[in-house]
């Protein structure tokens, strides 16, 4: 197993390399002279030239790439054009809220959607199932931001149950922390839940039609044992796969959710950096998000081995 994990880790390297190359050249093709942006509002031509030299922008592209890659390997993502702070620091500052939001959403969505999907499959074609499927189809079509505003309007503005905006670090107490995450997690999680509930139902339906479930029923096993052990364990691989695919969805959703709920996480940093054309920050963020996604895929792949004894490495 360890050997497999190591091998898979190495296999992610080319992917990350492609991302890095892409990110580097993406920014090189950007319109406007980064040096001019850095130099400021009414910088002279000389000042711009000076900045360009300082940043090494006057050197050949390949040399720039080599320097940039070397810095990258040392964990140096450069300096933000606008705030003059190291990109790593900006990202580190924003990591906690985003991690908290995605993890809580992941947790809540999986904890709710999987049972919902199981029940829907169990009660296939009954009212419960139709409600669940209706929710799944709608949830998948609902734009996150529209849902978010509706949630804010009722839960925060009308009924004053939860905060309108913001993020309370866990260091400021557990309840404020949880409170600040509820609405964003729901808004962010609905699409994700719809996806997971749907795949759980489909996957369970397929499994429930299998001969071994008939066997389990012929043994007179209790319903929960049949559903949750015999069926769900077999349905787990596609469910886990979709949970993994959905992480990408979450990351995209985080960008919007954090904007709506004013959460100082990586998503808002992304929007700000992109709109301000703060290229080093954009580069760093793409790398971090891509890294996260690759890592998640890795974890998912490895989890298969625990879920299905037929998979061998």
């Amino acid at each position: 197993m360890t050997a497999y994990i190591v091998r898979r880790l190495f296999a992610t390297l080319p992917v990350m390399a492609v991302v890095a190359i892409f990110v580097f050249f993406l920014i090189r093709f950007a319109p406007g002279d980064p040096a001019a942006i850095i130099a400021g509002e009414d910088a002279t031509a000389e000042a711009i030239a000076q900045v360009r030299m300082k940043l090494g922008l006057d050197r050949p592209v390949l040399e720039q790439f080599a320097i940039w890659s070397l810095q990258l390997l040392q964990g140096d993502l450069g300096i933000s054009i606008f705030s003059n702070l190291p990109v790593t620091r900006l990202i580190a500052q924003r990591l906690e809220p985003t991690l908290a939001l995605t993890l809580s959403t992941l947790f809540v969505a999986v904890a709710l959607a999987v049972p919902i999907g199981v029940v829907a499959a169990w009660k296939a074609r009954k009212l419960v199932d139709r409600l669940v499927m209706g929710f799944a189809v709608l949830g998948f079509a609902m734009p996150v931001f529209v849902l978010a505003y509706i949630l804010i309007y009722f839960f925060a503005v009308q009924w004053r149950l939860l905060p309108v905006q913001g993020y309370a670090p866990i260091g400021e107490g557990f309840w404020p922390f949880v409170e600040s995450l509820i609405l964003p997690s729901v808004a962010l999680g609905v699409t994700y839940m719809a996806l997971i509930a749907r795949i759980t139902r489909a996957s369970m339906l397929e499994v429930l039609a299998q001969d071994y479930i008939r066997t389990a029923n012929s043994k007179g096993l209790a319903t929960d044992r049949v559903l949750l052990l015999h069926a769900l364990k077999n349905a787990a691989v596609p469910i886990v796969t979709v949970i993994g695919i959905g992480i990408a969805l979450l990351i995209s959703g985080v960008v919007i959710t954090e904007t709506v709920f004013n959460i100082p996480g990586l998503g808002r940093l992304t929007v700000d950096a992109v709109l301000k054309r703060d290229y080093p920050v954009v580069q760093g963020l793409i790398l971090v998000f891509a890294g996260a996604k690759v890592l998640v895929n890795l974890v998912i792949d490895i989890s298969y081995a625990f879920l299905d004894p037929r998979i061998r490495y």
Binding site: T215, S218, G220, L221, R225
Partner: protein
């Protein structure tokens, strides 16, 4: 356990139906039979004749969203199964009536160990601890003659051969000493030598435990070797019933005769899919079960058919010595023999 005499299982006028987009399918259309204690009863017929549905109906395993037992009675030890609650039914399944299936490849759960799958049955019904359950599983594996049984307990189905898996299925089904074992095509998917071994094993265990067996098959060869009494089904109806010797000596229904002619010889090789050729040699098509069938269901394919056959449903009549047949033209058939 009531020691009352009489059949352990009585099926009376069973109707099982499925609703589909094309209408209601009458999969079992008024079937009755008894199973005596310790007896081996064969149910034969082509695929789609309703024999599997009959078996599933007894255990009430018909999928609720599409199918239901429309009418009829199933009595187990004098107790009416159709009126039991689902919970009571669950207590019965795998415990007093158990079942094994056609596909040993797919009938075992691929993600649970063999030991778990046997032990959970024992734990569920006999109220023993998991440790004792595992011990019982180990005994059962020994009983069905799986070598190295201790180690096998912790293996997954994909690590076993087809024959071994069917042995595991049998071990599982018998683990709670059931009164009735329903075996739905238990050997069809296996190759010939294994088939014989499994059948021998079943008979041997039956002798040992006194379990009655309902053996469902399309294979008259298997019926001849294994069973004591035979029910022949066609299009959801019982068309003939007889002690096994009587049936093979003088089949009275034209359909049974057709089946006899189509018996695959044991030396015929199984095809690529692992199954031997089925009984498609009788000309014509199985009737459409969504349409009400007027008259004899076999009439369209029957060389003896008359207008009466096509218009009036033949009743089951006793042709002597417990040999029942539903055919207007029994006499002609007899003469044709």
């Amino acid at each position: 356990m009531s020691g009352a005499p009489g059949p352990i299982l009585e099926v009376r006028d069973l109707h099982t139906q499925f609703s589909t987009l094309d209408g209601v399918v009458r999969a079992v259309d008024g079937v009755s039979f008894d199973v005596a204690r310790g007896e081996t009863l064969g149910i034969v017929g082509e695929s789609g004749c309703g024999k599997s549905v009959t078996a599933m109906s007894i255990l009430r395993l018909i999928p609720r969203e599409t199918g239901r037992i429309a009418s009829g009675s199933i009595k187990f030890e004098g107790e009416e199964l159709t009126s039991l609650s689902e919970e009571e039914m669950k207590r019965l399944r795998g415990h007093r009536i158990s079942m094994i299936f056609q596909e040993p490849m797919t009938s075992l759960n691929p993600v649970l160990t063999v030991g778990t799958q046997i032990a959970e049955n024992v734990v569920r019904h006999l109220g023993v601890s998991w440790k004792q359950g595992r011990e019982r599983a180990f005994e059962m594996l020994d009983l069905v003659r799986i070598a190295d049984s201790r180690r096998r307990l912790d293996e997954y189905p994909h690590q076993l051969s087809g024959g071994m898996r069917q042995r595991v299925m049998i071990a599982m089904a018998l683990s709670c000493d059931p009164q009735v074992l329903i075996a739905d095509e238990p050997t069809t998917a296996l190759d010939v030598t294994i088939q014989a071994q499994i059948l021998d094993l079943m008979i041997e265990l039956k002798e040992k435990t006194g379990t009655a067996i309902v053996l469902i098959t399309h294979d008259l060869g298997v019926v001849a070797e294994t069973t004591e009494r035979v029910v022949v089904m066609y299009a959801g109806r019982k068309v003939e019933q007889a002690p096994v010797e009587a049936l093979f000596e003088e089949p009275l229904h034209p359909y049974t005769r057709g089946l006899m002619r189509a018996i695959p010889r044991l030396d015929v090789e199984a095809d690529a899919a692992g199954t031997r050729p089925r009984l498609q040699e009788i000309p014509g098509l199985v009737p459409i079960l969504t349409q009400p069938i007027v008259g004899c269901a076999f009439a369209p394919r029957c060389s003896f058919a008359t207008d009466r056959c096509r218009n009036e449903r033949p009743p089951l009549v006793d042709a002597g010595a417990g040999h029942l047949v539903a055919c207007w033209e029994v006499d002609r058939v007899r003469r044709a023999a």
